[in-house]
């Protein structure tokens, strides 16, 4: 995604090579055409599998949600009780029945490919090499520098596209280790079978309805991430970065986008 050259000028610390991050571009394996590997196979495969399942989950989850677009806190809640949030969505009884089976189908794909991604990332040191921010970058100046540059829609340089900036690293780590686990946790906390074995999944978040509300909150945060993710993709070159996530390679010399 987006690496910004201008932020380096504004905040010299960003320009310093991160201590724990980013393989130097020179060491990346290159093919005959002189292209270097940007994304390893496990990341590419799980990215698209999870992207597909998230899309399916959003659609089918929306189908379930509009069957009762009211959120509550605690164990109980219905049209006879006050709500925490009344979502400005149509209230259509029925779609939940047909969407629920597909929701669980996609949930299984997400969980299984997520587990493969985590196991593969540990094995290939993807988390440590590519996602763990350098300690030197973990300060407000670096973070604010990256954010302010991107808010002004500054494009990245090709060289720096070999690594992720500190904000990307933190965002990806949050998605992998907070949002997705939170979504799966609160999803399981709504299951009567699962909570009969692990009641703490539901009680620790305040109950069945709290889990349902938090499921929605986590998904909303994920949607915000996805919007920014796609916006940044447009900033740095949609085609070349999508191609890199499919084939694994970014062309060495990029012409325009």
């Amino acid at each position: 995604m987006s690496i910004d050259s201008s932020s380096a000028a504004l905040h010299p610390r960003v320009a310093a090579p991160p201590a724990t991050s980013g393989e130097p571009a020179a060491e990346a394996p290159a093919d005959k055409a002189g292209r270097s590997l940007r994304h390893i196979a496990i990341v590419r495969a799980s990215h698209w599998t999870m992207a597909g399942s998230v899309l399916g989950l959003l659609v089918t989850g929306g189908g379930i949600l509009i069957s009762h677009p009211r959120l509550y806190w605690g164990e109980t809640g219905s049209v006879a009780t006050p709500s925490l949030i009344d979502l400005p969505l149509p209230f259509i009884i029925g779609p939940s029945v047909s969407n629920r089976p597909f929701h669980f189908f996609f949930a299984w794909i997400l969980v299984l490919s997520g587990l493969v991604y985590i196991a593969g990332s540990i094995a290939t040191r993807h988390f440590r090499k590519d996602l763990l921010p350098a300690r030197a970058d973990l300060n407000w100046n670096s973070i604010a520098g990256v954010i302010s540059a991107h808010l002004r829609w500054r494009r990245t340089s090709t060289d720096e596209a070999w690594t992720y900036n500190v904000v990307q690293r933190l965002a990806y780590l949050a998605v992998v280790f907070v949002l997705f686990p939170g979504i799966v946790w609160t999803g399981l906390a709504m299951s009567f079978g699962v909570t009969s074995v692990f009641p703490i999944l539901a009680t620790i978040v305040g109950g069945f309805q709290s889990a349902r509300t938090l499921h929605f909150v986590f998904v909303s945060l994920l949607v915000i991430f996805l919007i920014v993710h796609l916006a940044m993709l447009c900033l740095v070159g949609f085609g070349s970065h999508v191609r890199a996530m499919i084939t694994g390679y970014i062309p060495q010399r990029r012409s325009g986008r």
Partner: protein, 255 residues
């Protein structure tokens, strides 16, 4: 990419697919023997349903108990989902407090029996204060009193080959346009013999109101609302995996 590589890739992919498919087939056969395959295991959706059902049956194999609540947690206003049947047979029974109602239990049982409401009430009763949630998302807490389904099944002596218990309610012609929609359903033996599974006749200390499933409804601790069949008239014990209500949803409900 050379032709050779393409062919090799194709052959490898083909072999992998064949190995995967036969492995999956063997796994399904093995899982079926352990009762881990739901009736609606076919198709795309059946993959998710089978994974959910088998994962949960393995996880909950020790008759794990659904969460129970305090009497003070009971919801002031429980929600009616679908009013009582409007047909004449049901109305006539309700008019005199279901004195003439009988619950027929048949199928793979040594002693087919029909119980009156009074006879069911004379069997050992128990109460559970549990969460009742609709798959739409709303929920309430209520106390349900009744007889354990497992006690009743013991009385009628289910045969060892029994795999499912089918629950037939009174037909409700008003629940749909066109054909009479009968919300019959079935559960597996793991749910049928579960200690929180009741044939419930009281709700929050009072006789079950018609809208909530009078005279007797099924109450499952670990299932969504729609599996808790209301207005029971007949119970059939069966070994037939194909005897389930096909609809837009899934049999196990995916929870």
């Amino acid at each position: 990419m050379s032709r050779l590589l393409t062919r090799r890739t194709l052959v490898t992919a083909g072999l992998a697919t064949a190995a995967g498919a036969s492995g999956l087939g063997a796994a399904i056969h093995l899982a079926g023997g352990y009762g881990l395959i739901p009736p609606d295991h076919g198709g795309i959706v059946g993959i998710g349903e089978t994974l959910t059902y088998s994962a949960q049956r393995l996880l909950t194999s020790g008759y794990s108990l659904a969460r129970e609540f305090k009497r003070s947690d009971i919801s002031k206003i429980p929600i009616v989902n679908g009013p009582a049947p409007k047909d004449d047979a049901f109305r006539a029974l309700a008019a005199d407090g279901f004195k003439n109602w009988r619950l027929q239990i048949e199928g793979l049982v040594a002693r087919p029996v029909s119980f009156s409401l009074e006879e069911l009430r004379r069997l050992p009763a128990e109460s559970h204060i549990v969460l009742h949630a609709c798959e739409e998302g709303w929920s309430y807490i209520a106390e349900w009193t009744g007889v354990r389904l497992s006690s009743v099944l013991e009385l009628v002596k289910t045969r060892p080959e029994a795999r499912y218990v089918v629950f037939m309610p009174f037909a409700n012609p008003k629940q749909t346009t066109g054909d009479v929609r009968v919300l019959w359903d079935n559960i597996d033996m793991a749910d049928a013999l579960h200690p929180q599974t009741l044939l419930a006749y009281d709700m929050n200390g009072e006789a079950l109101r018609p809208d909530f499933g009078a005279p007797v409804r099924l109450r499952l601790g670990r299932q969504l609302g729609f599996k808790n069949t209301k207005y029971l008239s007949r119970i059939i014990v069966t070994d037939r995996i194909d005897l389930y209500r096909k609809g837009p949803g899934t049999w196990y409900g995916g929870i």
